[in-house]
């Protein structure tokens, strides 16, 4: 049976109210289109996990989709504060669970490798471990020294955006690869959104670049420009102007509502959103090609 769905079908089928969602991507390849589709389908009580919640979770929290966030750096990258998540936390309206980057990514690493927890060397800072009881200390049975451990994170659904995959979901990513692979292996269900669906032979021509094998993927959605205002290396640039603009929009409820009405509820899908952005934005985000040298795998 084909695993290729429209994004709206995939969200309807795989994302349930109350799910723990990990929409992956460290600044790069953030699946904004999937976040917008979840908002349009009015999912509620989600637990939103990401190392950096970024604007995608700010928007989902603003739209009322979340009851909790799990994160390690809650800012608008390169700009400043992540205003909606921050305000909801300060107001006591949103639960949160917090790690350092290494703690967060170690939780995913444990989830992805089937381990119950992951050890890390102590950092002695202490306070984050004091306020988050999921951080524990255990004794290394070999040296007798303490190590810090965090439990496996196993999202109900991981959403991963990729440059290209084949119709079975064998997915290739380049550029910043963040925690995409770990999120996919840790999750129960995996939705891949992709800039391009390519022939299996294209994937087979460069197997080292395949980070996610098709057999762990549940849904494949062809969504060009899925990552805007984040970016896809080699396809389009990060829309830094929008990250600055969101800093203004998110200063008050009215402008956030207007934004969601116009750019999320007011469009059918990502294609309509991208067309609505218009030529000036399209041109501004165009990327000049810079190709790698071809590698020789050899014929055997």
């Amino acid at each position: 049976m084909s695993k290729v769905y429209s994004l709206s079908e995939a969200i309807a089928k795989f994302v349930k109210d109350g799910d723990l969602i990990y929409a992956a991507g460290f600044t790069h390849l953030i699946p904004f289109a999937a976040g917008h589709e979840i908002i349009r389908q009015r999912r509620r009580d989600l637990i939103l996990a990401r190392a950096t919640p970024d604007l995608i979770y700010d928007q989902m929290v603003a739209a009322g989709c979340a009851r909790k966030v799990i994160f390690s750096y809650m800012g608008n990258p390169g700009v400043g504060s992540l205003r909606i998540v921050r305000a909801e936390i300060e107001a006591g309206n949103l639960e949160w669970e917090e790690y350092s980057h290494f703690g967060m990514i170690s939780r995913l690493q444990a989830g992805a490798t089937g381990l119950p927890f992951m050890p890390m060397n102590p950092t002695a800072a202490g306070d984050l471990e004091r306020v988050n009881s999921k951080y524990r200390q255990v004794i290394d049975p070999y040296s007798g020294e303490p190590v810090v451990v965090v439990p496996a994170l196993k999202p109900d659904v991981a959403i991963v955006h990729v440059q290209r995959c084949d119709a079975d979901g064998n997915s290739q990513i380049w550029g910043i690869i963040g925690e995409q692979k770990e999120a996919a292996f840790a999750a129960e269900k995996v939705i891949v959104t992709t800039e391009e669906i390519v022939d299996e032979n294209v994937i087979r021509s460069d197997p080292n670049r395949t980070l996610i094998p098709g057999f762990i993927v549940d849904a494949i959605c062809h969504v060009p420009y899925c990552a805007h205002p984040s970016y896809t290396q080699g396809y389009y640039d990060r829309d830094n102007a929008f990250y600055l603009q969101w800093d203004e929009i998110s200063k008050n409820r009215e402008s956030v509502k207007n934004y969601l009405d116009e750019w999320v509820y007011g469009v059918r899908d990502r294609q309509e959103y991208w067309e609505k952005l218009g030529e000036e934005v399209h041109n501004r985000l165009k990327v000049t090609p810079r190709l790698s040298e071809v590698v020789n795998y050899g014929s055997y």
Partner: protein
């Protein structure tokens, strides 16, 4: 003497602390500018690595976020987030880390998490990101910050990352790989830890006074007996910063 802004002064003094061949865990903003300035002056073999998993970046334009695609194109290597923290930082392959935060206390501990109570935050800050691990495991840490009393309390509200804790001995007993904060570069001067791990004023920038430093520090700031004065920014340093690295003055404009 050339005119310069406060961010220029901070960046130039931070750059001078870097050594040729250092492997530096870089953030965007002033640390990124400081590293690129050092690379173009006294440290051509500096290796810049970013928490996004990029090793040996050579950004062709000014990166505007920690995951800017310009950091990837032309880099030596790209790895996942787990690997950058585990293989590079935890394993001890990072010489220098740059840190910042809303509060830095007498013993160089940093708060980047919350002002007020953690459970009922008065001001919720972005949180640790990678700073908890950088502060523990980079061989040397440098902090760049404007010098203001509210940023330099006796004790931080929340200890996001470790300086010398309550005393240099306490850090030593924790057996952390890294040496802790080596210098805090401010717009007034440079603070460095003494033998107890307490930050004291070791250098003043041109036209700044001991009184400026004391008045803007939240504890009884002690002054090194051999207090030094930093060299003013040179024309060459300013030209590289202004013409090559941040021509649009995104990070270098005056004010905070």
């Amino acid at each position: 003497m050339a005119e310069y802004t406060s961010p220029e002064l901070l960046t130039i003094n931070a750059a001078r602390l870097l050594r040729d061949g250092d492997v530096v865990f870089v953030g965007v903003g002033l640390p990124n500018l400081a590293c690129n300035l050092a690379r173009r002056t006294h440290a051509p073999n500096l290796v810049m690595i970013y928490e996004a998993g990029i090793i040996g970046a050579q950004p062709a334009r000014l990166p505007l976020s920690i995951g800017d695609p310009t950091l990837v194109s032309g880099a030596l290597s790209v790895c996942g987030m787990y690997d950058i923290f585990a293989l590079y930082l935890q394993r001890g392959n990072v010489d220098v880390g740059f840190l910042g935060g809303a509060q830095i206390d007498r013993f160089g501990n940093i708060n980047a998490t919350v002002i007020g109570e953690y459970d009922h935050p008065k001001v919720r800050l972005p949180g640790s990101g990678g700073s908890m691990e950088i502060a523990a495991w980079a061989n040397r840490c440098y902090i760049i910050t404007p010098h203001q009393k509210r940023r330099f309390p006796e004790k931080v509200d929340f200890r996001t990352s470790a300086g010398f804790l309550s005393h240099r001995k306490e850090r030593e007993e924790a057996h952390l790989r890294g040496g802790g904060p080596q210098a805090v570069v401010t717009d007034i001067g440079i603070l460095q830890p003494d033998t107890n791990g307490e930050l004291i004023l070791t250098a003043l920038h041109p036209n700044k006074t001991v009184e400026d430093a004391k008045a803007n520090t939240g504890w009884g700031l002690r002054i090194a007996s051999n207090l030094e004065f930093t060299e003013p920014p040179t024309e060459r340093e300013l030209t590289i910063l202004r013409d090559e690295l941040d021509p649009q003055r995104i990070y270098l404009k005056g004010g905070e």
